[in-house]
């Protein structure tokens, strides 16, 4: 551990390595590298389409196995069989792979026979499971059929009890028609024999449709009756349980019955014949019951076999899935490699942190000796001018802060990492807005709970929002801590104040009730805001001016601090022209206007205006007058103020053309004089964008991939030809305008600190007076109860509204201050992230979800 450099201030130095790996051990070698997780392989076959690569067949085979495994997993979920997940497999802390992997020691790679086993197993099991599943489905179908039959039989009694009524009604229909035809009354029993019926079951929502259709087609020449069935039936088509109803239709005539049957079947009804004789019906019922009993037994055994099979699978499935995914990753990596001319050796290229090359070589040698093969793999460093990936070594503490920065942009290779100062500035800017000891304390406690239980929580599955809070636990911890500090300075604890030090104000001794009192200044409060201000009428007036000036000063200091990083960057990349042409004029511009304002603020504070008997000048008007009417001063802050201000204004104005012209002109002259020599590497955005573009162009312009590495070394130092004078000029114009405007707008932007902290303090005061203070006025048992309830209400609202909501908004504002106001001062952020080849844990659930969502799209 100790020989590794820390790579948090600047990203780690990377070198491009070339590996020559004999084909026989290529799988094992890649496995070893994957366990180490420090190599980012370059794709050497980017021109070859994915299905033309060397190991496509293997990958396809493994894809199939993965599909089978996902199918098993779906079955497991369907039958509620738990998946056994080995916790050791699951959460090897992925944030520390870079530094931790070497200490694990290389594991033995999975032998290829194991993978073959997985493949065979997968196919066998899939066939078997599909068989069992379809058998179970068949039985389910039969069962549903029989159950429906039984239901119809059971409801038959009810149907036929009303039969007589039906008979008579239909008979009367008949009779009327007969009468109208002018014949004599017919025998009732003769009609009775003509009445036929249809029985069956139909989904509940289609009953009305059926009835209406039949009514229309038969012109009311029927009797329809239906009974709701209590138990739902399994539908094999939709694989779901459906609520159904049994129905019976009486109607005269065979032909009509045929039509009714057709209509009913077209509406998904299942028709069953039952007898109108009660005895025969009960006989039918008993046979059906017997059949059903048999069926239940068969179904039971089938389900048991299926479940035991699934349990066996569930125990191993995760392990298999992990093995197969690793194997697939290996082949995908191998696909990035090149074969040499006689196809014996694989050639790979990859980025490795320079200080870990030794560790990598050790691992490879160990692997070859263990395998007992005497063909070593050769590792060789390459000289290159490609942009190396950016790799910051993070730990669990810094990872959260680093991710804040990475969201905005990956740092350029070896530039100052904005994540390092963010560790303090981000929570602190938050705290200025969120300053309240009580709220900060709640936040601190919440974060502490997460931090202290992090081992346990790390093994748990977390949902999205909780996961966000968990990864940001150290951020929240520091935010809570600094909030407590600023709350202490603001003298705010749940909007109340503490009287720790001696107040700097003294109230007059003798006064009448209701008289307006003015305190007398006797000293300065030692730490934070004086508690004498609390509850006064003009407290807001004072804290307003205090917080506004505080936010301007803090903002100015924060920006200057960030701006200094750009100097450090320029010095590191050794680009003098950026210092002269960009940094110095920018600095003078910024300091001349806003630095001057800040100095004035402090000066005004430190001078005793009342003793001098002069009116204190307004600083805002002073600044405005400095531009609009240079040289005229309304109220003098200090002697010779006019001259100083004119001088500063002129200096700032000179800086604009300086910023605009020096760099492009320098570029033009050096180019004319020396022709081919390009600018030294700078951290200017446009410069590097074009460099990387050049890299990209070169890759595409070369036909043969092999030529790329030969070409690499020749390209050294010539990658900057693409820039024209006009490009540089335009970029510089944009940069100048942006910088000058941003100076103004960013300083103004820091006023959000003022606004939010005031809003927070006011909101907590309002909450206090609206809830808990009401209860203090009451007496007796009502007072006790009120205090109890209002305290609960106050506490819940404090947590929800003030801590969570206000905290989120303050956090977003702080985020913006960092991304926009601070990082624009020095951060280039056009780096390539370092994504080493490493085996991770594949969660089956997410894998299944992904595959289903991708197929459904």
């Amino acid at each position: 551990m100790s020989e590794k450099e820390e790579a948090i201030f600047r990203s780690a130095e990377m070198s491009l390595l070339q590996f020559y790996i004999p084909q026989e051990i290529s799988r094992d070698a890649v496995y070893t590298l994957g366990e180490l997780g420090i190599v980012q392989f370059r794709d050497l076959n980017s021109k070859v389409r994915s299905f033309q690569r060397s190991f496509v067949n293997e990958i396809r085979r493994l894809d199939n196995v993965q599909r089978q495994h996902r199918y098993f997993f779906k079955l497991l979920q369907k039958h509620g069989v738990p998946l056994f997940e080995d916790p050791n497999l699951m959460f090897q802390d992925t944030t520390e792979t870079g530094s931790d992997a070497s200490s694990h020691g290389p594991h033995l790679p999975i032998s290829s026979s194991v993978i073959d086993d997985h493949v065979q197993n997968g196919t066998l099991l899939e066939e078997r499971l599909i068989q069992i599943e379809s058998a179970a489905d068949q039985i389910q179908l039969k069962r549903a059929d029989l159950e429906q039959y039984r239901a119809v039989l059971q409801s038959g009694d009810e149907f036929f009890s009303t039969q007589d009524a039906a008979q008579t009604s239909i008979a009367s229909l008949r009779r009327e028609s007969i009468i109208s035809e002018g014949r004599g009354p017919a025998d009732d029993s003769a009609i009775r024999t003509h009445v036929n019926f249809v029985t069956g079951v139909i989904p509940k929502d289609k009953v009305n449709t059926l009835e209406q259709i039949l009514w229309r087609t038969l012109r009311g020449n029927l009797y329809f009756k239906h009974v709701e069935l209590t138990t739902p039936f399994y539908d094999t088509v939709t694989k779901d349980f459906v609520q159904k109803e049994a129905f019976i239709i009486f109607s005269p005539g065979d032909l009509i019955i045929q039509r009714i049957r057709k209509i009913a079947e077209s509406l998904d009804a299942n028709l069953y014949d039952i007898d109108n004789n009660e005895h025969i019906r009960s006989q039918q019922l008993s046979t059906v019951n017997q059949n059903l009993d048999d069926l239940y037994k068969v179904l039971d055994t089938t389900n048991k076999t299926l479940e035991s099979e699934l349990y066996a699978i569930g125990n191993e499935l995760n392990q298999w899935y992990q093995d197969v995914s690793k194997e697939k990753l290996i082949f995908e990596t191998l696909n990035k490699f090149n074969f040499d001319s006689n196809r014996k050796t694989l050639i790979a290229e990859g980025w490795v942190p320079t200080d870990e090359i030794d560790c990598l070589q050790d691992a490879l040698t160990e692997m070859t000796t263990r395998l007992g093969i005497d063909v070593p793999s050769i590792v060789q460093a390459l000289e290159t001018n490609r942009t190396p990936p950016t790799f910051h070594r993070t730990n669990k503490f810094t990872a959260g802060f680093q991710s804040i920065v990475d969201c905005y942009g990956i740092a350029q290779y070896r530039e100052i990492n904005a994540g390092l100062p963010t560790i303090v500035t981000f929570p602190f800017m938050f705290a200025i807005m969120f300053g309240d000891m009580g709220h900060g304390f709640i936040m601190l406690l919440a974060a502490l709970a997460l931090v202290l239980n992090e081992k346990k929580l790390n093994r748990m599955k977390r949902d999205e929002i909780f996961d966000m809070a968990f990864t940001g636990r150290y951020i929240v911890l520091l935010m809570g801590f600094f909030s407590m500090y600023t709350g202490f300075l603001y003298n705010d604890i749940f909007s109340k104040s503490m009287t720790i030090f001696k107040s700097g104000w003294e109230w007059p001794e003798h006064f009448k009730k209701g008289e307006t009192l003015f305190a007398k200044s006797v000293g300065t409060y030692a730490f934070g805001l004086d508690w004498a201000w609390h509850g006064t009428e003009n407290a807001l007036l004072f804290s307003n001016s205090y917080k506004m000036k505080l936010s301007i000063l803090m903002g100015f200091i924060h920006m200057t601090y960030s701006y200094m990083f750009s100097l450090v960057n320029h010095l590191y990349f050794d680009s003098m022209i950026d210092i002269i042409g960009n940094f110095i004029p920018g600095l003078i511009f910024m300091q001349g206007i806003f630095g001057y304002l800040s100095v004035c603020i402090v000066y005004k504070w430190s001078k005793d205006w009342i003793k001098d008997g002069k009116a204190a000048p307004g600083l805002l008007n002073m600044l405005i007058n400095m531009f609009l009417a240079p040289g005229t001063i309304d109220d003098e802050l200090y002697p010779h103020q006019a001259k100083v201000q004119v001088f500063l204004l002129i200096a700032a104005l000179i800086c604009i053309p300086w910023l605009l012209l020096v760099k492009p002109l320098h570029f033009k002259f050096t180019h004319k004089a020396e022709g081919t020599i390009a600018l030294p590497t700078s951290d200017d955005v446009e410069h590097n964008v074009s460099t990387t573009e050049d890299n990209g162009d070169r890759e595409f312009s070369n036909e043969e991939v092999d030529e790329i590495y030969e070409g690499d070394d020749d390209d050294e130092g010539t990658g900057n030809h693409g820039e024209e004078f006009s490009d540089i000029m335009i970029h510089q114009v944009i940069h100048t305008i942006e910088f000058c405007l941003n100076c103004v707008s960013h300083t103004a932007s820091y006023l959000r600190l003022w606004a939010l902290s005031l809003a927070h303090a006011q909101l907590s005061t309002v909450l206090w007076t609206m809830t808990i203070e009401i209860s203090f006025g009451m007496k007796g048992i009502v007072g006790v109860l009120m205090t109890f309830f209002l305290f609960a209400m106050w506490f819940v609202l404090t947590c929800c509204v003030l801590v969570v909501m206000e905290g989120t908004s303050a956090m977003l504002h702080s985020l913006r201050l960092h991304w926009v106001e601070s990082m624009s001062k020095f951060f280039v952020g056009d780096g390539i992230p370092y994504e080493p080849f490493v085996f991770g844990y594949n969660d089956m659930e997410t894998a299944v979800e992904n595959s289903t969502s991708s197929t459904s799209d």
Binding site: T516, L517, F527, N538, A539, F542
Partner: protein, 60 residues
């Protein structure tokens, strides 16, 4: 001021070996910001231009 500078310096030397950069920068930056915050608060109360005013006090 001196307290902060001295404690920063002491910490610069005392910083733990592991993750030294992070420790140093974090602690010193935090100290500096906390000091600044205090200084601003102190300064603004050094020579106050407005005085607290209230009319809801009851005589003892």
């Amino acid at each position: 001021m001196t307290v902060v500078v001295i404690s920063s310096y002491v910490f610069w030397i005392m910083a733990p070996k592991e993750n030294r950069t992070v420790w140093r920068s974090t602690v010193i930056l935090a100290l500096a910001m906390m000091y600044l915050m205090w200084a601003i608060t102190y300064l603004c109360q050094l020579h106050p231009l407005v005085e607290p005013r209230r009319s809801d006090m009851r005589p003892e």
